[in-house]
Symmetry: C2
Subunit: 299 residues, 2 copies
């Protein structure tokens, strides 16, 4: 097998898979934001008829996978693998959300990178001849994430300006070995970059250095300038993380002002919606993906 | 790219990767068991100089990756990907254990299947031309697992006979695109099979139906009888899960009595060591793997 690696961390796929469709479900607040018209379903409340937020999140995963298969008119047997993960202990929303589907399953834990981790592994599996159809799914829920990572919501804790708002949302994308695009042509896999930020209310600053490292490595490996791209997008760095990316990339000689954005800055209108530094969580990039990939690229 | 899938859930790799080396560290109790001589390091206590069990577990991951690289005389730059996960919230032992290594990272959450999930994905990535060297790592720790999934150890809760003993142990394996074997030739990926067992002290019964489903599917896909194999081994079903596998496979026409075993039944001497139904946890199959793969297959 010819090695598809170029540079240090990038794979150039020989038969780029298509992102065939994405199905997304978001919470009420996300449905009041600027991307509302791109989501497939907007919930009316935080519970969706379930007794716990974790069960609501699991239901979102379940219905997103169903919605994605429905768009493609595929059944369980047509899907080679399902790759999924989330933020909650033991990835319960994912595993309970898809347990009734008889699809071979790889559980992922990439925290906020989960959706792209799934797309990366999925694209490489398809390009390697291991599969024709792969579903990549992820989810997050504001209430389950606050409970798990910060404070019980009932405390009414004051949120500092640097805090981000975990997106209540889930999305499932179908990758296909053949199709009309958009295509995944390259995969640059990131490393853990820990600069020592310990503030759970400033995740943008914690995550930005890893994003910078991966973006920079991608440009190095592909020998491309940032101007090559119409749009460069990160998952959920929010306003603070976005500023850090712009500044650090500038110091490395890359001027991203005109073609870089972050999903956490797109999904909410932070001033009107009181979401402080922007959106975050696995569901942020996954649901915003409906907007940035399919609707805009296919036009 | 030619499709490598055979049957419903199995990949037949075209250039089978080699499992080049495995480095394992276990706790004191595991070091008093029947496999003691196969482990690379045996700890003297549960803490290994750390203030929390999670930090101990993380240190095991760190040192196993270092040990595996040392055996192979490789540096970080030689490794294309590191695939790792564990049982603890947010897979903290894995991510903190490897954060100082500058190796592109995929976080996994497969619970007790994590080690084999890593080997499966790693083998497929190598076979697809995406990598030459991949490290697959995982860990578990008796104390951190009891704290997370059952009761605080300080309570001194009585353990029922069906309970298993989470292995304190970690292992890292290096997969290489070329070598002298043992080889990974096929990958059959399992589905979630939930028969409704809710007893956290009877995990063998909860996991066995999925193992049966995957084993049976593997035989179907490869058109092999179980006699084809010198050894068929599951990860951590323990005595109860092993009996269920034997019985359910028998009912499907496969007689596994002579060539099937489970890592959870091998790692401890349950009668002498008071481990009830046997070993469990990600670390059980990963550390036992040193015994079942390299030392026996290479002979």
């Amino acid at each position: 097998m010819a090695n598809k690696k170029i540079g240090k961390q990038t794979i150039k796929l020989s038969s780029p898979p298509t992102i065939s469709s994405v199905y997304s479900i978001v919470g009420k607040k996300e449905g009041e934001g600027p991307l509302a018209k791109y989501f497939d379903m907007i919930l009316e409340d935080e519970e969706w008829g379930e007794k716990t937020w974790e069960k609501t999140e699991s239901k979102m995963v379940k219905e997103c996978v169903a919605g994605c298969l429905g768009k493609e008119k595929l059944s369980n047997e047509d899907v080679d693998y399902l790759l999924s993960g989330d933020l909650i202990n033991q990835c319960v929303p994912s595993s309970f959300g898809i347990r009734e589907r008889q699809i071979p399953y790889f559980g992922l834990f990439g925290a906020c990178s989960t959706f792209v981790e799934g797309l990366s592994l999925g694209a490489m599996l398809i390009d390697g001849g291991m599969a024709d159809n792969i579903i990549c799914s992820t989810s997050s829920h504001f209430c389950s994430a606050e409970k798990q990572f910060r404070f019980p919501l009932e405390l009414g804790t004051q949120r500092p300006p640097s805090s981000q708002w975990t997106v209540t949302g889930s999305a499932a994308a179908l990758l296909k070995s053949s199709g009309n695009g958009p295509f995944i042509t390259h995969v640059t896999t990131g490393k853990i970059i820990d600069m020592g930020i310990k503030d759970a209310n400033n995740m943008g600053a914690a995550m930005a250095p890893a994003a910078v490292d991966t973006l920079w490595q991608h440009f190095e490996d592909t020998r491309r300038d940032s101007n090559y791209y119409d749009l460069i997008i990160t998952g959920d760095l929010g306003q603070i993380g976005k500023e850090i990316v712009l500044e650090l990339m500038e110091s490395r000689g890359f001027h991203l002002k005109n073609n870089y954005n972050d999903c956490g800055c797109l999904i909410f209108d932070s001033k009107k919606q009181d979401t402080h530094a922007g959106g975050s969580g696995c569901g942020c990039c996954a649901t915003t993906f409906s907007r940035i990939s399919l609707s805009s690229i296919k036009k």
